[in-house]
Amino acid sequence: MNTPTAPARPKIGLVALALIAAIVSLDLLRADPVDPFSVPPPSALGSGQAPSGAHCSAG
């Protein structure tokens, strides 16, 4: 008698990607749209701008 297993990994992985897609889609509907003319420079180093401070270590 075989030990029962969860569904196959590719299916679960696709469900995880669908979850992320759902969160991003929900956000795209509700959040302020990104202004393509005011996006930050490609790299923070050399930009002259301070980081956002939105990090796990910030209170």
Binding site: P10, I12, S43, A54
Partner: protein, 373 residues
């Protein structure tokens, strides 16, 4: 096989291109860096929770030494970079406090129950592990819940932020960091069984790639690699969509967090690398000739424990100012004392979690699956 791999390659490039078109070059770079993290962590089997278990349970120090190598390599470049560009780059610096220590201890315990830390939960979910996916749902909810009470926890008492570079200067701080990492690595390797002391080539390569990606993250984002902030933000976004008013909460009312809450997720650096990491883990899993066997099915009560452990992981990581990535990896590699304290407390919790895992995760018996009483 070739067709599938070309499709996976195209999917990865399409994700980066789509992010570029929606949110610009920095966002695209960060998603690409996240993809790299996912590919390396899953593809080269570089983990955090697993090596903490094997160093204790199997006297195998190879994974832990690889972690320390990655942190040391990152610190060797990150600390001089932070000193050179203080107005553009910030370290993962947080205060040591009662709640921070408690949070790290609880996080270490929970990560052994679900066998996944901050990065590990994302990797496990992306690579098709159902335990990881269920834990991720809990992690998102828990890290959001943690933001609602963070002011209470920090109010219990914290020290000022202390960094090694603040104590010993820029050069001295780096030397202290490398010396401490070397000492811990030596102690772990000395205790390990012969043949389990130094990492194999795979882990050396992985450690180098993780360090390179972490440095790219710092240079592009202006702040170190993190996980938990993004997950808490996702939870907050979902809660707001469900009608919650977060403007009255201390955490989300602060200027930086309120801005993130109203702006697109595609402008949040941690969310972008998290998305890339999950996608990268999926690509690495599908790249293999045959994916790993699926996880064993669990009893209903065990799934409830996995969800609860995910919630605890998220909540405790918020209390502790980060998980194994934001606090342990990025905290230590950018000189924060809280990273070292997090390591000690979480390792203690991990020892307890190893004992709990066998008690709460019970595989389902075949008879139950077939409906036979």
């Amino acid at each position: 096989m070739l067709t599938r791999r070309l499709t996976l390659l195209a999917a990865g490039l399409a994700l980066v291109a789509a992010t570029f078109s929606w949110a610009g070059p920095r966002a695209a770079f960060l998603v690409a860096i996240g993809l790299g993290f996912g590919l390396v962590l899953e593809g080269l089997r570089f983990g955090f929770a697993g090596p903490w278990r094997t160093v204790v349970a199997e006297r195998d120090a190879r994974g832990l030494v690889a972690q320390l190598l990655a942190i040391g390599a990152t610190a060797a470049v990150a600390l001089p970079l932070l000193a050179a560009a203080p107005g553009e780059l910030a370290g993962a610096h947080a205060p040591v406090g009662f709640a921070m220590i408690l949070g790290a201890f609880v996080f270490g315990m929970a990560m052994q129950v679900v066998m996944g830390c901050g990065s590990g939960t994302l990797v496990n979910a992306g690579s098709g592990n159902l335990v990881g996916l269920v834990a991720l749902l809990g992690f998102i909810a828990g890290s959001f819940a943690g933001t609602l009470h963070l002011d209470f926890w920090t109010g219990l008492g914290t020290l000022p932020v202390i960094t090694v570079q603040g104590v010993a200067g820029d050069g001295g701080g780096l030397l202290l960091t490398l010396a401490a990492l070397g000492l811990i690595g030596y102690a772990a390797a000395s205790r390990a069984d012969p043949g389990k002391r130094l990492p194999p080539l795979r882990l050396w390569v992985a450690a180098g790639l993780i360090a390179a990606l972490a440095l790219l993250n710092l240079v592009v984002a202006g702040q170190p690699w993190g996980i938990v902030y993004g997950l808490g933000l996702w939870g907050a976004k979902v809660a707001e969509a469900g009608g919650a008013d977060l403007a009255a909460t201390a955490y989300w009312a602060s200027a930086a967090n309120a801005e993130r809450l109203s702006a697109s997720l595609l402008t949040d650096v941690t969310s972008l690398t998290n998305i890339g990491l999950i996608f990268g883990a999926f690509l690495a899993m599908r790249w293999r000739r045959s994916p790993d066997a699926p996880a064993a099915a669990l009893t209903a009560s065990s799934w409830a424990f996995v969800l609860l452990a995910g919630i605890i992981l998220g909540y405790s990581a918020r209390m502790a100012f980060g998980c194994n990535v934001g606090a342990f990896f990025s905290g230590i590699s950018t000189g924060s004392l809280h990273g070292w304290v997090w390591f000690a407390a979480a390792f203690g919790g991990s020892l307890l979690g190893l004992r709990l895992r066998g008690l709460v995760l019970v595989p389902r018996r075949p008879a139950q699956v077939e409906g036979v009483a």
